[in-house]
């Protein structure tokens, strides 16, 4: 009997592998363990979420009215405190009529950061742009020229101060950290010892004590009235502190670059600095992107400690805004939620950017 070709019409797979149902089956109800976990977590969520939603949304007060807040005490959140005080929380003690200046300065700085994070802008003109924007930032903030009234640094505060301290802390600490990391692996004993002592000393003390030293102790050793501005001293303190930690992250990457890479560079006649710059550092830094970003995020949040030396950045200005006002002081929790959301937004952006960078540097490693 001659066989006849019978085309079989295509039919869908018996068990679907795409779509919500398939996703839930694979990820939530894969076996009895994940099924149990899913059910337990769902019950916990059902138990907690309604109460939270009641407090945060349904019973909450949004319009800036003190009476409504007092009425809702204990049952609903008083977001009114944010509506009422956001300007003080975000901009601190900066003179009220001049507050457009920190806003413009900070937008400039954030624009610069955005540009610097974008690959197609990685061109030599970024360096003069940085200098120009930073100069613009300080002129706007400090004033005293171009008809801008003078505002001393103890009045700077809020988010503009947080962003500036974090940006400059990171930008100054990173190159220093790379040098220290290289120094710790140097063949010259003097340089190596200096770098080790620096890292171990700085890592051995808390940031708070570094800030105290920068702000209170340091002026004692200087002639009266000759001490540099407290903001500058604190910035140097943060930079030195952050660089010690960063240096160790970077050194981890340096250790992981095979010795053969340096030998190959040497046989090609590259000098020490050419080898580090072109061969070792690109590979080392690519390996430590997550660790370095960890440090950067830590620096960003550590700026909240400068409140202790009377520089009222975001966290400090929240305290200032509410402590001074007996009516609104009870609603600090809501205020903290507000600045927590701000901190989170920045840190989350940084961590997403880190993932993007990781993807960029892994191009050469994909086969």
């Amino acid at each position: 009997m001659a066989s006849v070709f019978q085309p079989i019409p295509p039919r869908p797979a018996p068990v679907r592998t795409t779509g919500y149902v398939a996703w839930a089956r694979a990820n939530l109800f894969g076996d009895w363990r994940s099924t149990t976990t899913t059910i337990v977590l769902a019950l916990v969520a059902l138990w907690l979420l309604p109460g939270m939603a009641q407090w945060a949304i349904f019973q909450a007060v949004f319009h800036p009215s003190l009476e409504s807040c007092q009425a809702a005490r204990g049952t609903g959140a008083c977001w009114a405190v944010v509506a009422e005080k956001y300007r003080y929380i975000i901009l601190g003690r900066y003179p009220y009529d001049e507050q457009w200046r920190p806003v413009v300065a900070t937008l400039l700085l954030m624009g610069l950061l955005g540009v610097s994070c974008t690959r197609r802008f990685w061109r030599p003109w970024l360096v003069p742009l940085w200098i120009a924007v930073l100069a613009g930032y300080f002129v706007l903030m400090a004033g005293g020229v171009l008809g801008l009234s003078k505002v001393t640094t103890d009045l700077w505060g809020g988010l503009p101060l947080t962003i500036m301290l974090a940006t400059l802390g990171i930008v100054l600490a990173f190159p220093l950290a790379v040098l220290v990391a290289l120094g710790r692996r140097s063949k010259l004993p003097a340089i190596r010892t200096m770098c080790i002592v620096y890292v171990e000393l700085v890592r051995g003390v808390p940031l708070i004590s570094v800030l105290f030293m920068a702000s209170f102790l340091f002026p004692l050793f200087m002639p009266v009235g000759k001490s540099p501005d407290v903001l500058l001293r604190v910035l140097v303190g943060i930079t030195l502190f952050a660089a010690a930690y960063l240096a160790e992250s970077v050194r981890g990457g340096l250790q992981a670059v095979p010795k053969g890479q340096v030998e190959a560079a040497a046989t090609l006649g590259l000098t020490y600095w050419q080898t580090q710059r072109k061969i070792v550092l690109p590979q080392a830094l690519a390996m430590v992107v997550p660790a370095v970003m960890n440090n950067f995020i830590a620096i960003f949040k550590d700026t909240s400690l400068v409140t202790i030396v009377s520089l009222y950045e975001l966290t400090g200005s929240l305290g200032l805004a509410l402590n001074a006002d007996a009516d609104w002081r009870p609603y600090k929790l809501e205020g903290y939620f507000f600045i927590a959301a701000i901190y989170f937004a920045f840190c989350f952006a940084m961590s997403r950017y880190s993932l993007w960078i990781e993807k960029q540097v892994s191009v050469s490693r994909t086969r």
């Binding site: 030998e263 560079a265 040497a266 590259l270 050419q274 050469s364 490693r365």
Partner: protein
């Protein structure tokens, strides 16, 4: 014989205090000479050729390369390294750079060659090792044999007078060894001074002017290949040859 291009005078080297890795090495290499160094592992053959471009420092004796003595003088070492190319067992290509960038790096930064010119030279060398079509790929996207050929091309871009090969085929699968050896044989035919640590005795017979056998940090025997393989003088050499040619 013309002035030697490489000269070792009673060179001694130790690793740490106790491991005497090179013992009283005397060696002269003439320009254009092709030398194969063989010997058991730990005999000091890699150390010997790594002394030629000062990847290793010797403690006693003197080494001259293209007339320059190798000392702590960094400038002298840089000068010598510009004349000496090296190919490693593990290729040591720069994984974060494309093949083309691997080749143009040194000419641009060491030789101060403009980019366009450096790329032109690089492409010519890549054609020489028959791999020009891979220029835009990254090293890890290539096979081992291709990577080693890129490494050879990279060394050639600086127009070295001497090429050192440190077990260039030992990390390769058998079918890739041939493509690398072919490139090396071609290079030998063009008059390059070559010193090659290898156990490829077929290669030694085909291209070497002289085969050097090392054991325990010393040069045991050196002779032209036909003599070395058919009439080895020392018992140690005979024993070694019977082991590596025995199968």
């Amino acid at each position: 014989m013309s002035e030697p291009i490489i000269k070792f005078e009673k060179v001694n080297k130790w690793y740490g205090d106790d491991f005497h890795v090179l013992r009283d090495i005397d060696l002269e290499v003439a320009p254009g000479e092709r030398i194969v160094i063989c010997g058991p592992s730990g005999s000091g053959k890699s150390t010997l050729i790594r002394c030629i471009n000062r990847l290793e420092e010797h403690q006693e004796g003197r080494i001259f390369v293209t007339g320059t003595e190798l000392t702590d003088d960094v400038k002298a070492v840089e000068r010598v390294r510009r004349e000496v190319g090296m190919v490693f067992q593990q290729f040591n290509l720069f994984p974060h750079l494309t093949v083309l960038e691997n080749l143009t790096l040194a000419p641009m930064w060491v030789g101060k060659t403009p980019k366009a010119k450096a790329e032109e030279i690089a492409m010519r060398q890549l054609e020489r090792v028959r791999i020009a079509e891979q220029a835009r790929k990254y090293p890890l996207q290539l096979s081992g044999g291709q990577q080693q050929r890129v490494a050879i091309a990279r060394a050639l871009c600086l127009k070295p007078k001497i090429m050192l090969f440190d077990e260039p085929t030992s990390a390769l699968d058998p079918e890739m060894i041939k493509e690398v050896l072919e490139v090396m044989i071609e290079l030998a035919g063009q008059g390059m001074t070559m010193i090659c640590v290898t156990h490829e005795m077929g290669f030694a017979k085909a291209v070497a002017n002289r085969v050097i056998f090392m054991d325990q940090g010393q040069i045991v025997e050196q002779a032209p290949p036909e003599e070395f393989f058919s009439r080895p003088k020392s018992e140690r050499t005979k024993d070694f040859l019977s082991k590596i040619l025995g199968h």
